[in-house]
Each structure stands twice: as C-alpha cells, then as structure tokens.
Point group: C2
Chain length 243, copies 2
DNA sequence: TTGAATTTGTTCGTATGTATT
DNA sequence: TAATACATACGAACAAATTCA
C-alpha cells in the first residue's frame, strides 16, 4: 500500500467562500463554460483533469458537479470517452413525476390522474391551430400509424411506440417544440408508472385506436369540436382505469 | 466502531453489473430506500456514513448519488444537519428551461416564446372549469392581489410576487396541483430569463394589471369567452417584447 | 490481435467547516 | 466552552471502458 504521503497541507479551501445554496459554484462555472462558448448539444467538454486545473478545485468536486449536470441532462458522460453537452431534454421532469407517482400515499393515483388531465388539456388546447393547418390535408404518416395500431391491437400486441409517435407528429404541426416535448414526456410518465403499479390494460384498447382515427378525421374535416370530442374519447379508457 | 479495517474483504464491484445508463445503481438504491419505507418530504434519510455501510459503496459514490438526487429535488441536504426527502418540485424543470433559453442560438428567444405560449394555453385551457366553479363568487384574495398590483405599478414598482401568486391561486380552483405547479414554473422561467437577457419591461404594465382584473370579472360573470380574451390581452405585452 | 494512452469510475484516508447539545 | 455528529472538501491510487496505433 505504500502509504508514505505526507500530509503537509496542500492548503486547500483558501479562497472561495463556498456558497452551497445556489449551486456549488463549480456547477455554475461549468455552466458558464458552456454558455460563454455557446456550445451546442454534443459538443465536447474539457476532461475532468482539465476542469480540475481550470477551476482550481479537486477532482471530487468536479465529479460531483458533473454528476449534478448529468442528472439535469445538461451534460452527458461516456465512460472512457469523455463528457459532452447534453441535449437538455425533459428527462429530469419525467424522473421527478414518476417518483412522485410512485410515492403517492393514500389514493396512490392522484399524480397519475393529474398527468392524464394535463395531457388531455394540452391535446384539446391546440384544436384550433391544428384545424387551421390540417383542414383538407391527407396526413399519410399519421394514417399509417393508426393503421399499425389497429393491426397490433387486433393481434393482441401493445402499440405504445406508435401511440407516442402519433402524438409527437400531431403536436409538431402547432410549431411549439416545448409543448410537443411536454406531451411526450407526460405520455412517458404514464407508460412507465402504469405497468409499475400493475394496472392491466383492459379491452378498451380498440376504443383508443379508433379515437386516434377520429381525431384525424375531425381535423381533415376542419371540425374543432369533433376533434375535442375525439380527444375526450381517447382518454376515457385511461380515466376509467384510474378511478 | 473501530473495526480496524481489514484489507481484503469489503471488496466492492463484486455483484452489480453496474449499468451506468439508468442511474448509477447507488442512486437507484437510495430511491428504493425512500420508496420502500414510504418516506414523505421532510423525513430524514440515513447519514452518509450509514448509507456507505448499508449499500456497501464508498463515501464518494454516496456523495455523488446524493448530489444527483439533490439536483432532482428528490432529497435535500442541510449542512451539518443531515439529509431529508426533498419536496420533489419542478425546480429541475425550471433549471433546464432557463439554461435552454440562455443557450438558444439564432433567434435567441425561441424557447422563451414557447414558454409564454404554453402559459397562455394552459391559462385558457381551464376557462370552462374556472367559470363553473367561480361564477358569482367574490374571490376577495384575488381582488386584493389585483389591487396591490395596481398600487405597485402606479408607484413604478414591479409586482412579480403578486402576479405569480395570482396565477397560483386562480389555478388552484381547478384542482390539478400539477397544472398549477407547471404554470408557476413556466412563470418563473420567464422572470429569471427576461432580466438576464436585458429585456426591459415596457409601460404595457398597466394593461397587464387590468387584464388580471378583467379575468376575474369575466369569471364572476360566468363568461368563459371573455375570460379567454382577457388571458390573451394579459399576454399581449409579453408577446410584443419577444417579437 | 495486442497493447499503450486517455478518460471516466470507484475507493480510501484525511482534514475542515458547521450545526446541535 | 467543549464535545459530538454531520456535511464538505482534497488528494492519491487503482479499476474499467474507449480509442488508436
């Protein structure tokens, strides 16, 4: 083990008043590094050793700071390769909501119900914009997705991927990426938590598939009210499960 | 104590295939600790030393895991006191959006615009539910807040706190805590980023204040459309700034 | 295919600041 | 004031993954 190693101080903690509350200052420094250089997702960050030098803190501190940024999806780390700027997704949002849902005490399903209500609200909220853009349109990709859902549902398979993609593509037409991400994120919270709680999907599946088709039909016809009704029908099975 | 520490033994990395992608397994273990015992926000967690024992990992690993959970607001740490279960707020969501807004390259304001659009959408989305619950109601707290905004705006002061509280209280009447938190979070993203980008608040302030009053008036009258129009008017000044 | 270099992952030991008693 | 319990920080060594010659 060759301890040797003279204590000798090395004199750390000289400067730096260490304000822990906000964000450990090392975190802030790395954030600034990204901001100042205008780095984009995927761009490489300095290695741990380099950050130790530049910031004048220990490797442990650098690592803890990076860990924080990773958990916020602001940076990404690949073992043996290096760290890059993350894609800043809503993954932390999903993680938090999933944890809350799992921790819900009494009724257990409170958070989950709120998630579904939010999804329904946002899907309805964009009715006018969608009608405006899609009236008379063909939307072959979306139709194809509905068709695939239909096939898989009759085959007894699940069609989560198609379902998520459907909502992603549809919301894409409103031109608000954040709203799209939010809906997809809420959708993921559902799909993660529902199986974990052992809630079996009933045979309302067919209704759900047809609701997707009705949404498209209403949009093509330019009928915002019919679209909203289809959205309600779309979520009815889920609500039934959660009550 | 005083185990004296044998060399061999201890020997980590025996089991545990170490799947880094998901969440470092130590993070997962602490999560499970909370979940299994059904701990609530504020409940105490084991000390670092105890976690080192229970989980059979090093101090550094425990610290990095805790750092991750802190940044997700799943746990809280008070220096010299201990760690507790966090309140699982949407703080990480806010942090991420603020960072994205600051990093936005070209038009710079894309993310911020999307945030405002989302706020507007959610505020409008709950029109029917609010009308249903508040028709003919007095709402003295909300009126008082509008009055305070009026005072402070004429005094040339800012009224961010009253504004935020107004939306929080209003959304509270729809009975979806998640939606309320989301709107408040989006509101905070605005207030953090706008000053950072050096966007001065114009004199449309008075319009904003009156829009708040109009929203209440419309709700009292049970007029959902008038409420939605007031919401649009409420956000008009903000949109003007961002374009 | 081997193997060295680079980089992140994990651990141990130690010293220090801070809050509680 | 002192003691205790706890979190914060530093540094060195080794393990594991990745890349490239």
């Amino acid at each position: 083990m060759s301890r040797s190693k003279e204590p000798s101080a090395a004199n750390p903690r000289d400067a730096i008043p260490r304000r822990g509350g906000t964000g450990s200052s090392t975190v802030q420094a790395i954030k600034s590094h990204i901001l100042d250089r205008g780095l984009r997702p995927g761009d490489p960050l300095p290695t741990e050793a380099e950050l130790v030098q530049e910031l004048g803190v220990s490797r442990s501190s650098v690592r803890e700071a990076i860990r924080t940024l990773v958990s916020l999806d602001l940076v990404e780390v690949r073992h043996g390769h290096g760290t890059t700027v993350g894609n800043m997704s809503l993954a932390p949002f999903i993680t938090g909501l999933v944890f809350r849902s799992l921790l819900n005490p009494d009724g257990h399903l409170t958070t989950l119900r709120e998630v579904v209500q939010l999804r329904e609200g946002i899907d309805s909220m964009v009715a006018l914009q969608l009608v405006e853009r899609l009236r008379g349109e063909e939307m072959p990709e979306l139709e194809a997705l509905v068709e695939r859902m239909r096939e898989r549902s009759t085959a007894g398979e699940s069609f989560m991927e198609e379902d998520q993609e459907f909502h992603r593509l549809l919301l894409n037409h409103v031109g608000n990426d954040l709203a799209t991400e939010l809906v997809v994120a809420l959708w993921e919270v559902n799909t993660i938590v529902v199986p974990l709680l052992g809630i079996a999907a009933p045979d309302d599946i067919r209704d759900t598939v047809e609701a997707h088709g009705d949404m498209l039909k209403a949009l093509r016809a330019g009928d915002a009210d019919a679209y909203r009704q289809a959205v309600v029908a779309h979520y009815r099975p889920l609500h039934k499960i959660l009550d």
